[in-house]
Subunit: 365 residues, 2 copies
DNA sequence: CTAAAGACTGAATCCACGG
DNA sequence: GCCGTGGATTCAGTCTTTA
């Protein structure tokens, strides 16, 4: 039986090593595969200094076909290891992202978003022959169109000052103290990703305790951020020098202590309270009149917690939601926020009753 | 012998019609093919209004395979018609752009840039299920790696206030007076592109007098901008109603005398700096304690950039502004100046972080 | 007349759970 | 698996109507 290692780096080829992991065992995969840059000769700045680009053997492929074969192979194993409701992130540039995206769509993955990492401090185009290549692309996808994936909508919205997080993220490159250096002061890994990028990836699409797999761990950014955010992790890496640097780095990470403190709870996860319970408990008398914000519609509360409304279009009865939708002629309605109640201290939405009940439940818990 | 029509709209299927054009005869192709969105049922806004999505027959394909076949067919003709030193632009979204990009790379096209059109006013994600889809992607490519293509580096730099034009362009959607409407006031074309986008495309990669071909002309944006910029143009379109609207539109265009007089569209809605970004980028650890100037109140920073404060009046969580207001019992509060941070070099308002980040952004810009 | 408030709109793969 | 129901969910802008 396949064992399930956790919080460790597995040394080896990413495809072989993934094949040793159990089927449907990880919640999230973040993959930063070789980009297959196919750089020609060396690149020099206007002052003739040499640009230290990606020259490593791991980025060399014989042909476009062999890159596609490699992509299909690792994606296939990733798909097997991923839970049915898990999601996959892949990062790339125009050199490889189209082939990767087409391959994963052909394999049945369902794209949820393509995300643009807009670099606030990209390397300029020294020759002035193209637009400054100032971004990279991430693809976020589920295993199927009907998968129930994790998306921490509220956390992303608050992280973005109260408006929805968009598909373009402006973040700086990994530089300065965050960038791993060897004894001689040169960078350990050519393509180390910034922790801020992984922070957003992991915070948006996993829950605390989830298992995050990175099949191309490199300098260990994914594992470091997963550990910091109270997620479990598995890394796969071939080269010993990267493993050594990543291990030191991950060991030094302190997880955030209070997991409950990590993020505000989503509204969707709050306990459900039936409207009828307020009638049942005597908070509302049967016969109480409700109205909408504009006072165009009124409805009467019945003993079983349903409403009764009479309009020009006829008589409507049913739940607070059904009657709210019916009187407006709308396809749906949130009755909690649509209906109001006259109280001595003013008109309040009936949602105020629910909020109060929830606050009392939290107090007793 | 094949004739070379110019400054006209050719009615017909794009592949057949392109095949009637001479080989190696156009300098630039801009293509806005169907995205094959595959939308499900109806979508409503929270106010219950219905979203008027793309449901035209031209966007429906039998299968992913038939979309790929269609893509290969039109790309092949486009490649033939294009001069050896000409370039091709294609716009798309995550629904189709990966398949398109892979197809054109397989065909030998050489990608020069992928360009992100960052929409300053995208439609939100109404259900809170994904990141707001706030961009589209353009691929710019030459016929071969050694092609001597046109790139007006200086014009782009000037258009971008003296710094190199990046691969991400922030531009608004096509709305208001620019959007073509029919007699009943509804939009003529579901996916009319803004002229500002085509300005950049045509100005960056053609010379005056060059021939610009758009095989999916639609509402005629490409032809209108080409004419305005003193380029020649050919449009291909199948549907009579689009041709009629585009013809009126193009006829009304006055070519500019002096292209240098064209001014850059105002930059709108540059990224703001959310408080959460400092947590994300590791400037602040989750769990960090903030306090106000008088040290009466303290709050704890959470991983999503919200604060959590406990006072005699209860527990408060939310943005730096909301929690600042709540602990004081005030109606509002500027959290940037209210909350302070203890640093080795003394206590500073958190606004110092923001000022520093803005200074760095200005430096990089 | 101006100013404020309300209506309308955009290439959208847009719900979750219990019976 | 399907079906019914609860109830959660929007940003930047333009244009129209009201005060």
């Amino acid at each position: 039986m396949k064992t399930h290692p956790i919080n460790t780096i597995l040394q080896g080829d990413c495809i072989e090593t993934m094949s040793s992991l159990p089927t449907g065992s990880v919640d999230l995969i973040f993959a930063d595969p070789p980009y297959n840059l196919m750089l020609g000769g060396e690149l020099h700045r206007p002052d003739n200094s040499r640009v230290d680009g990606v020259q490593d053997a791991w980025d060399r492929f014989e042909s476009p076909e062999s890159y596609v074969a490699f992509t299909n192979a690792w994606l296939k194993e990733a798909r097997r290891v991923l839970k049915d409701d898990g999601t996959l992130w892949v990062i790339g540039s125009y050199h490889n992202i189209f082939r990767v995206g087409a391959a994963l769509q052909d394999m049945g993955f369902w794209v949820l978003n393509d995300i643009v990492w807009r670099k606030s401090n990209p390397m300029p185009n020294f020759r002035g022959t193209r637009f400054t290549n100032a971004h990279e692309t991430l693809i976020w996808c589920a295993k199927s169109p009907d998968a129930r994936y994790t998306f921490n909508y509220e956390a992303m919205k608050t992280l973005n000052e109260g408006v929805q997080m968009r598909s373009d993220w402006t973040l700086p490159l990994c530089t300065g103290a965050e960038r791993l250096k060897d004894e001689e002061g040169s960078k350990v890994h050519a393509t180390q990703k910034p922790e801020s990028l992984l922070y957003r990836v992991i915070l948006s699409s996993t829950k605390a305790g989830d298992v995050v797999l990175d099949p191309f761990l490199g300098s260990g950014t994914t594992a470091a951020v997963a550990k910091r955010l109270g997620r479990r992790w598995i890394g796969i890496e071939r080269e010993t020098r990267y493993i050594e640097a990543a291990t030191r780095r991950i060991d030094a990470v302190e997880p955030v202590r209070d997991v409950a403190l990590l993020q505000a709870p989503a509204k969707r996860s709050e306990p459900r309270i039936p409207f009828g319970s307020f009638v049942e408990q005597g908070v509302l008398e049967p016969g109480t009149i409700l109205c909408d914000a504009s006072k165009r519609y009124t409805a009467r509360v019945r003993a079983d917690g349903t409403l009764l409304a009479v309009t020009a279009r006829g008589q409507h009865s049913g739940s607070i939601h059904q009657v709210g939708a019916a009187v407006q002629g709308a396809p749906s309605c949130n009755g909690w926020t649509f209906w109001y109640l006259d109280r001595p201290d003013g008109r309040v939405p009936i949602d105020a009753l629910r909020q109060q009940a929830r606050a009392e439940m939290a107090h007793h818990a």
